[in-house]
Subunit: 303 residues, 2 copies
């Protein structure tokens, strides 16, 4: 069993890009051909459209990127039918050898956290088994440990929210704690868990979520958590540029995975791609463009 | 449409108890008659057992308590089948006129938070519609607002994690912020949202989660958030006593709802109830006992 941190690093190196595609299906923004004759209120029909949309995106990006990130909320909005679609999407990506980071942001006390961890990180359970899961640290380190334990047992990973991409993330995350901020205090705990998970070598099974919208903090957090891979949302539609994310990488160009969701999956809506053959072609071209932009920015930062 | 805060207060007054029963099904602890012939690994079968267990508990407690709180994690562990069981349990409780507080502890940025809110608080969507939902504030106030907006639109409520019941909750929640702690800073934001939701009259649609395991903090938080109903977990199996929770009530005996899960739903395992006819009888007697213990403690505190 290859530990998650190694597996993630190797997969990114193989595809030669840290870009990850976020799977955030929203009914009203699906390509019209997928919603033709589908009633938005019919959760079975809508879930089938979500599944088809995500599966086709995976087909388009499977040779281009190493990782996809389904956003659980959009599937959950369709109830059990949506969870079934999510399960099928996760399995499809896994069968295509793509790493799946489930964006669920779960968090709860001990035995309940363990149930969540088993639900989404344990391949021996008939659930929705991802390669890694995003988790919320607010309830304390003792509520992260069950996720980490289940992840380690099964070669999976955990990404802890540290500094999130939304405009209001500072309200609680930036409060001063001694000479630091709360998010730096969380980062130190993440680093401890990450270091233990890989005996201090390379990247561990515990990573951090740090928004592209906070590039200065990203630079500091990269230095602060040397064994924690960083999942960087906020690139693209949320306003983060390729230049903003370069601080997330180490000197060898490793250590970060960059998410773009709406800018890629709904590229067909963008006038820039109006000459595309169809929505899949727009997804493909937007992905290639994002990969190139990241490659240029990372190359420039390292030269 | 009666606002959530009023509806909760009235329902508790009608039943004359603030006790809430937590629905936390765990396969290995279900009464043997429910798991006979059921394979734990078969999620459809296990989900059917969870549903039967919860429905029977609801039948037992429907005349005794005003509120139940399903813990999402245990249902999610069974994948889509578990979510379907959860949906049926929520609907069953609602049909029996019991208020359902979904313990999901969700939290995400703007439009994603809105998807979660619709999933669990919007009766016009074919999802799992609860009367209120627990949410995590770590990402900031801007991530709470979509939940509050959807809740208000549909006469539903939101309970924000403020000071959780686990031993390690102090790690991040207790960090000092100016003359307060982080959890008090969160509490002040909860109070603002609660006050706005009810124009400062009585209890609003936004409440707080404060663990019974921190009785001193509970007293202070009751005073600090005069319009926020407090959901108090940690009573019973987690160690909180009836005496520990009295600080959550206002001088009229309102303003709190007290959760007990394992101590009630798995009462049949307790030697104390070994003379019960069956597991349902044990649930009934444990519920009655908890109600009496709370009534005595609250009465003593007010006299």
């Amino acid at each position: 069993m290859i530990p998650f941190g190694q597996r993630l690093t190797a997969a990114i190196q193989l595809k030669q890009t840290p870009l990850m595609v976020g799977l955030d299906p929203r009914f009203e923004r699906l390509p019209p051909e997928l919603t033709q004759g589908v009633e938005a209120q019919n959760s079975e029909q809508a879930a089938a459209a979500y599944e088809k949309f995500c599966v086709e995106i995976i087909d388009v990006v499977a040779d281009l990127v190493a990782v996809v990130k389904p956003q659980f909320a959009f599937f959950e909005q369709l109830g059990p039918a949506g969870m079934n679609a999510l399960k099928n999407v996760v399995r499809y990506a896994t069968d295509r050898k793509i790493i799946v980071i489930g964006d669920a942001k779960r968090g709860d006390i001990g035995s309940t956290a363990e149930a969540y961890a088993n639900a989404y990180l344990n391949p021996n359970i008939d659930g929705i088994c991802c390669d890694a899961l995003t988790v919320n640290p607010f309830m304390g380190v003792d509520t992260l440990e069950p996720f980490v334990n289940v992840a380690l047992e099964h070669g999976r990973g955990v990404f802890v929210l540290v500094k999130t991409s939304n405009p209001g993330s500072g309200k609680f995350q930036d409060v001063p704690v001694e000479n630091n901020t709360l998010f730096e205090t969380v980062a130190d705990e993440v680093q401890k868990l990450a270091e233990t998970s890989c005996s201090g070598q390379g990247y561990g099974a515990v990573g951090a979520v740090v928004g592209a919208t906070y590039p200065e903090q990203l630079v500091k957090l990269r230095q602060r958590m040397k064994n924690a891979p960083i999942l960087i949302p906020g690139f693209g539609a949320q306003g983060g540029t390729a230049q903003d994310v370069v601080g997330g990488f180490d000197s060898a160009g490793n250590g970060a995975v960059i998410n773009s969701s709406r800018g890629i999956i709904f590229a067909y809506e963008n006038e820039k791609w109006s000459d595309c053959r169809d929505w899949r072609d727009a997804v493909q071209r937007a992905t290639v463009e994002s990969i190139a932009a990241l490659r240029e920015a990372i190359g420039a930062a390292q030269s």
